[in-house]
């Protein structure tokens, strides 16, 4: 629990990390090089947005959700508006659904690029990080072209989106996808199939499937352990049922099923699937007015809703309780990175300190979402 045996050493990793995980403090109890227990200390980024949201209106909560998972803001917004629209029973126009899916998937690619690049940086490969960030910059440029913001968008509103797509967005996006798809081969040659990288990550930090489900691990982490669960396919929301895409799961490609390499490889495959969805959406997007279904006053009926959506990190759930006023009664965000971090202790017992960094990087956490 917290009792240190005689020959154990307590080491501190953090709170400032050289990699962009955020402000996290890990108290590691080691016996020489081997880790015997880890106690994570959270709360450095805790802003208690759940208390704030009890004092502002429902639309004003959306910028708060941006700032929780700042690397996948579109998906955080998406989760909230899907939950609210289920509570208020609003049907949004078709064009809005397509725009939301396009933005969500672009943000998914951006978030995965950052996660994979930073993971390479943790392992010691400096160059793939810069290549992946260069491509992510083009995605952020597209977001800036649409809504004016690069990182925190406040784009998806309850009943619609804030700005319509610019006229030549489809050309720009298709050009980007045509440029980006061959780049994935370059990343694979540089990092994914590099023997040193494989040695550092294969067989390390295996999460068995039942442990993963019990710890509430979801998203790419769960799929890497072999469980084929994706909210977009299993509890579909928006128009994801119209698209044809696969759910990549881990296969123990270079080591055991559910190791760090599988988690890395599943994210790489998911980028390809997102490209597929984007191409289909860009072809089929209808025209229309995006501000048509915006309600004049947001006053949901009394009741509660729990709805989850698929963010790049896993199942993002919103539990919203409304008491009939324009101000929410309770907004609770179930963040996927919170549950992913909770299994760090059990998974890294018996590994070395360098492996703890590898495991932490493969879980892809964002402290903004964990601390809220």
């Amino acid at each position: 629990m917290g009792v240190v045996q005689g020959d154990q050493m307590i080491l501190n990793i953090g709170p400032q990390h050289p990699s962009t995980h955020g402000v996290l403090r890990l108290e590691v109890m080691t016996d020489g090089e081997i880790v015997s227990q880890i106690r994570p200390h959270l709360g450095y980024l805790h802003r208690c947005f759940e208390k704030h949201s009890e004092n502002v209106t429902y639309e004003q909560v959306i910028p708060f959700t941006d700032r929780c998972d700042y690397l996948a803001s579109m998906n955080s917004n998406f989760g909230y508006v899907v939950a609210m629209e289920e509570l208020m029973e609003i049907k949004v126009p078709e064009r809005v659904e397509y725009i939301r899916v396009i933005m969500g998937e672009l943000n998914r690619i951006g978030s995965h690029l950052l996660a994979l690049g930073v993971y390479g940086l943790d392992i010691g490969a400096f160059t793939p990080f810069l290549y992946m960030l260069r491509d992510r910059e083009r995605i952020l440029d597209m977001f800036e072209y649409t809504c004016g913001a690069r990182l925190l968008y406040n784009y998806m509103w309850i009943g619609g989106v804030s700005h319509d797509l610019p006229k030549d967005f489809e050309t720009i996006c298709t050009d980007f996808l045509d440029y980006f798809e061959p780049q994935i081969k370059e990343y694979n040659n540089l990092l994914s199939f590099n023997k040193i990288f494989v040695e550092r990550t294969a067989d390390v930090g295996v999460i068995p499937a039942d442990v993963a489900v019990s710890y509430g691990v979801t998203g790419p982490n769960l799929r890497a352990s072999g469980v084929k669960w994706d909210v977009r396919k299993d509890e579909p929301y928006s128009i994801y049922e119209k698209f044809d895409f696969d759910i990549p799961t881990g296969t123990g490609k270079f080591g055991t099923l559910g190791d760090c390499y599988d988690r890395y490889w599943v994210r790489m495959l998911e980028i390809k699937e997102s490209i597929k969805i984007l191409r289909q959406a860009l072809k089929e997007i209808p025209s229309g007015d995006v501000h048509q279904a915006l309600p004049k006053k947001i006053r949901p009926p009394k009741g509660s809703v729990y709805r989850r959506t698929e963010s790049p990190r896993g199942d993002l759930g919103y539990y919203i309780v409304s008491d009939g006023t324009p101000v929410p009664f309770r907004v609770k965000m179930r963040s996927p990175a919170f549950t992913a971090l909770s299994c760090l202790d059990e998974v890294s017992r018996g590994w070395m300190i360098s492996d703890v960094i590898a495991i932490l990087g493969s879980l892809d956490i964002v402290l903004g979402e964990i601390d809220r």
């Binding site: 629990m1 959270l42 709360g43 805790h46 208690c48 759940e50 208390k51 004092n55 039942d210 442990v211 489900v213 019990s214 710890y215 509430g216 469980v227 669960w229 299993d234 009394k302 009741g303 509660s304 729990y306 989850r308 199942d315 759930g317 539990y319 309780v321 309770r330 609770k332 179930r334 919170f338 549950t339 909770s342 299994c343 059990e346 601390d371 809220r372």
Partner: protein, 166 residues
């Protein structure tokens, strides 16, 4: 299985533990706190229910005169059915059995609800604050929460109704 069927199974196995109420939605079941640990074990291990995923634990303060509640959202990966369990607590001494041994994510979820509301989960191996600092006073998400004046010499700013932040 639908929520009504699951509710019937629970009422069958643990008579007297379900509290009927009209403001509950169809998927919500309110239980008494005393048998919660046994019911939770049953929900996980019964082969027809198989609720192996605890999606979310939400603490909620229903108002100054009313009670605190803990709401558990459960989901089964095998059967794809869901249920939401509500357990009310007395404001003076809120406590309920901890289910962190059954679903391991309960460990951190319960710590968070304890941190925000002060609900004590009995049997939890290490119930301490997770998001606020260890020596923070008060339960932030309660409706009657008054922030402390200062923390280790730093003044804690307060929010006013009309003017915004001080």
């Amino acid at each position: 299985m639908t929520s009504a069927e699951i509710k019937a199974v629970i009422m069958d196995q643990f008579p007297g533990s379900v509290i009927e109420s009209e403001d509950l939605a169809e998927k919500q079941v309110e239980l008494k706190a005393d048998q919660w640990f046994n019911i939770a074990t049953f929900l996980k291990e019964d082969p027809n229910l198989a609720f192996d995923q605890l999606e979310c634990i939400t603490g909620i303060d229903l108002g100054e005169e009313a009670s605190l509640q803990t709401r558990y959202n459960l989901h089964s990966m095998e059967y794809r059915h869901k249920i939401e369990i509500l357990i009310s607590h007395d404001r003076k001494e809120p406590k309920v059995a901890s289910i962190e041994k059954i679903w391991r994510i309960g460990d951190w979820f319960e710590r968070e609800t304890y941190d925000m509301f002060g609900i004590v989960y009995e049997g939890h191996r290490d119930l301490r604050r997770i998001l606020c600092p260890d020596d923070w006073e008060g339960w932030p998400l309660r409706k009657d929460y008054e922030g402390q004046e200062s923390y280790h010499g730093i003044v804690v700013p307060k929010m006013k109704e009309e003017d915004g932040w001080e």
